[in-house]
């Protein structure tokens, strides 16, 4: 590889950040690409969050007219698409881009230039989607874009086309990244890093990549066929002779695994963080890996649980119901293994660990409501109601976002060489935890009482006015989330410049990233590490190559 182009080894990113902009535009260093992925994801989070706040203001009381109905539908679609495709997936890809090569002791990704191209497709994809707002109306058929509503007949504007094109690019980028991750992990492991010694975050990335590889193409295909319907007059999905429901099958064949693409890296982060802060090895390594693959397999066999009301044969529905319920089993294994890992430990509740426990406490609720939803008869009540909105935010925010914030807090010292401010970290955690539950818990009950989702307003006249107070409560708490995100981002920015130096290993970690400097040098390791177990740093401590744990004092005193 082009080693002559390597930038000089920075002492910290203060030295390079913003300096040669050409470095950021052309770098193939997986770490810098990772940072760009994460930054893009974080900006998308802010953008999607602002859209959500506007929607929440509109919904705060019955019959408000803060925005008009068409705008609501556009914001709704943009919020869903942004959060799923441009925030969580992209942020997780960024973390993996940064950490996976280091965790396996490699110098870079297997295909650095593919990595570069894959990243730059993402800003393009986002720009194309948002161009809709400036070309006469963005996508307004929800993030799922079901035809016939998204066909030309009912949606003649450019918004749908931009959405489809944007997501096709996104799929191409995702497939590139998946191939790159899998090749890297198979081919570039350090000496002694057998598969049975891979950190669980790397296993999670393997399963995520397999999933995206399997389902990215079907999504691109569905969108391509939809475009043919729109532009070439075919009738794959159009209502005059086509089969609208076929699109739903294709979409959800991607869409359900996608939620696991969002959460599996988070599971991996949790599996890294709990052992470090509890000072115990992970409980049930093998069953953790088996559970990941159980999830990969099952998640591709459950898609039609999103379609229990379209009128399928009941035996087909039973299959999808049973498969969906079965996912509770591997997920339960992971949960109990994490608890067993923490059990009997000497737990230091640093901010990352708080986020992990916040994750377990809330994601559990999303998992349980998922079992209700998987029961076909019950789903015919709950489907497309606010109960579902509550459920998937518990899964995607309570799950993916909590873990992603945990991972960010955990690896920030490694990436920047500086510690985050702890007080601000505590504030961002508690505000997020309270704001999140305040916002989404009562959405369940609104749905149970009959409030449909994706509605611009609830007109009232038949008791719906009574929902006003509850909706106001939700809107108020959604601003608590916004406050938490502001504190979090402020902390990132300020600590990156002014935080106290972190040293190589502030938490007393187990895995290889803590064996190198913070931030790591361009090729990650001055000397290729040799691995003897799945906790190589612990081995180094035992061999006297690293200071013993008691001296890892930095993280424990308040900064």
């Amino acid at each position: 590889m082009a080693s002559v182009l390597a930038p000089p080894r920075p002492k910290s990113y203060d030295d390079t950040f913003f300096k040669p902009i050409s470095l950021w535009l052309t770098t193939t260093d997986h770490k810098l690409i990772g940072i760009m992925y994460m930054t893009t994801g974080m900006l998308a989070f802010v953008l999607g969050g602002i859209l959500a706040l506007v929607m929440r203001i509109q919904l705060a009381q019955p019959n408000l007219k803060v925005i008009d109905a068409e705008t609501y539908n556009q914001l709704l679609s943009a919020h869903g698409t942004t959060m799923i495709f441009f925030f969580v997936t992209i942020f997780m890809t960024g973390v993996a881009n940064y950490m996976v090569p280091i965790l396996i002791g490699a110098r870079d990704m297997a295909f650095p230039r593919v990595n570069l191209l894959g990243f730059w497709l993402i800003p393009m994809s986002i720009a194309i989607y948002y161009a809709g707002f400036f070309t006469g109306g963005a996508m307004d058929a929800g993030w799922t874009g079901y035809p016939p509503l998204s066909t030309k007949q009912f949606n003649p504007g450019l918004g749908v086309d931009l959405w489809a094109f944007s997501l096709i690019l996104w799929c191409v980028s995702g497939i590139m990244a998946s191939v790159n991750f899998l090749t890297t992990i198979v081919a570039l492991r350090a000496p002694g890093m057998k598969f049975s010694r891979l950190p669980l975050f790397v296993w999670a990335q393997i399963s995520t990549s397999i999933l995206l590889l399997a389902v990215g193409a079907p999504l691109a295909a569905a969108l391509f066929l939809l475009e043919l319907d729109r532009q070439a007059g075919t009738t794959f999905f159009a209502s005059n002779g086509g089969r609208p429901v076929l699109f739903q099958h294709l979409f959800w064949f991607f869409g359900h695994p996608e939620v696991y693409i969002l959460i599996l890296p988070g599971f991996g982060m949790v599996s890294e963080i709990v052992p470090v802060f509890a000072r115990k090895p992970i409980f049930g390594y093998t069953s953790m890996v088996a559970a990941l693959f159980g999830i990969v397999f099952l998640s591709m066999a459950v898609w039609a649980h999103h379609m229990f009301t379209v009128g399928m044969n009941i035996y087909v529905e039973t299959w999808f119901m049973v498969m969906t319920m079965l996912i509770a089993v591997p997920t339960g294994i992971k949960f109990f293994n994490w608890i067993a890992t923490a059990w009997g430990g000497s737990i230091d509740f640093q901010v990352p660990m708080k986020y992990v426990f916040g994750f377990m406490a809330t994601f559990l609720i999303g998992g349980i409501t998922g079992v209700y939803l998987s029961s076909v008869p019950v789903d015919t009540q709950l489907h497309q109601s606010y109960y579902v909105v509550a459920h998937f935010h518990y899964v995607m925010v309570g799950g993916s976002v909590f873990t992603l914030l945990a991972g960010t807090q955990y690896w920030f010292p490694k990436i920047t060489g500086r510690m985050l401010n702890k007080t601000l970290g505590e504030w961002s955690f508690w505000l997020f935890f309270v704001g999140f539950n305040g916002t989404f818990l009562v959405m369940h009950t609104l749905g149970l009482e009959g409030m449909a989702r994706r509605i611009y307003s609830y007109p009232g006249g038949f008791g719906e006015e009574g929902w006003g107070a509850t909706n106001m409560f939700i809107t108020v708490f959604s601003f608590v989330i916004a406050a938490s995100v502001l504190v979090f981002i402020y902390n990132l920015v300020v600590s990156w410049k002014h935080g106290p130096p972190a040293g190589d290993d502030p938490w007393g970690g187990n895995t290889l990233e803590w064996a190198t400097t913070s931030p790591p040098p361009p090729y990650n390791f001055d000397k290729v590490p040799v691995v003897r177990s799945n906790m190589p740093l612990r081995d180094m401590r035992a061999d006297g190559l690293r200071p013993p744990l008691e001296h890892q004092a930095l993280a424990s005193h308040n900064s």
Partner: protein
């Protein structure tokens, strides 16, 4: 963590207090029959199929609540008992790597629970969600959705149209098996009246089935549940169950109005939707007399599709 313990405690208790308050509010408002959006459970369902969903929901809640309490309890125990500040200074955590029996246990336990949930769900599914469940309806109504309203065509041949925010009720008799054959003129809609039963989609191209057997007179709200355009939220529904005598009277006036107008839609102004309605769009009309078991319903017969469009005559 050394921060301000009182602050932390206050923040933790905030949602709990809010929750408690809301539970009380629900109880209070449930007593007077109004909705505050805080009901912890699905509506009881004034139709047997709705009530079976309610029962199933309660049944699932038993293991669900137990597991919730168990896991949150374990988490709290870990947080309280195993924090470093609570451990002796030289405490060395045991280095367990796993435990075969435990791991098998928490694989088999959930497996058993979901087996029973699946079984009871399947029983309900087979009882209420097949075509056979509404094979011989007393009243067979054809419901066609469009942007943004509903047309209810009764077996007697008259049609009631309901448009937008001031919905005209779908009038049905109490104590009778009412079947709805659902169909759409344009995009996908969803028919949902929470206080009666579950929902079903109206997909252009085939008919979906749904039924009620309402046990008492009353009027209930509902709405379209599938995003169908700008006016989606206006697509409200009312269902009114009346006694046999009132139902006969309703049919009589509707038929008279139809005769007088010489056109359908007596109850409201016809107000045909402005939505583009393709001439080729399937009207899914009952022309082919799908009254009996061999109806083009997708649920029982397997394919999931039965494009009407072709050959179906328009009423």
């Amino acid at each position: 963590m050394r921060g301000q313990p009182w602050l932390r405690r206050a923040l933790i208790s905030l949602p709990l207090v809010a929750l408690l308050g809301m539970t009380l509010a629900t109880a209070a408002s449930a007593a007077e029959g109004g909705g505050s959006g805080l009901s912890p459970i699905v509506p009881k369902g004034n139709s047997p199929n709705g009530r079976h969903i309610y029962d199933l929901y309660l049944g699932i809640s038993i293991p669900a609540i137990l597991i919730f309490l168990l896991v949150e309890g374990l988490l709290l125990t870990v947080i309280i008992r195993f924090r470093r500040s609570r451990q002796p200074k030289d405490y060395q955590p045991p280095q367990w790597h796993g435990h075969r029996l435990l791991e098998i246990g928490w694989t088999a336990g959930p497996l058993l629970i979901v087996f029973f949930i699946g079984l009871f769900s399947f029983i309900t599914l087979q009882r209420d969600y097949t075509a056979a469940a509404s094979d011989n309806p007393d009243v067979d109504i054809h419901v066609v959705g469009h942007q943004y309203g509903w047309d209810y065509t009764y077996p007697e041949g008259f049609t009631v149209s309901s448009e937008g925010l001031q919905p005209t009720p779908l009038v049905i008799p109490t104590g009778k098996l009412v079947r709805l054959r659902l169909d759409s003129k344009d995009v996908i809609h969803g028919f949902w009246v929470p206080d009666l039963a579950g929902k079903a989609d109206l997909v252009p191209g085939y008919q979906n089935l749904m039924w009620f057997k309402v046990d008492r007179p009353g009027e209930w709200r509902g709405e379209c549940t599938e995003l169908c355009g700008q006016g989606h939220y206006t697509m409200q529904i009312r269902v009114k169950a009346v006694s046999d005598a009132d139902y006969e009277a309703f049919k009589r006036t509707s038929l008279e109005a139809k005769a007088k107008a010489g056109a359908p839609s007596p109850s409201t102004a016809p107000s045909p939707s402005a939505a583009p309605s393709p001439s080729a769009a399937p009207s899914g009309s009952p022309g082919a007399s799908p009254g009996a078991g061999a109806s083009p319903s997708p649920r029982p017969s397997g394919t999931g599709y039965s494009p009407t469009g072709q050959g179906a005559s328009s009423s």
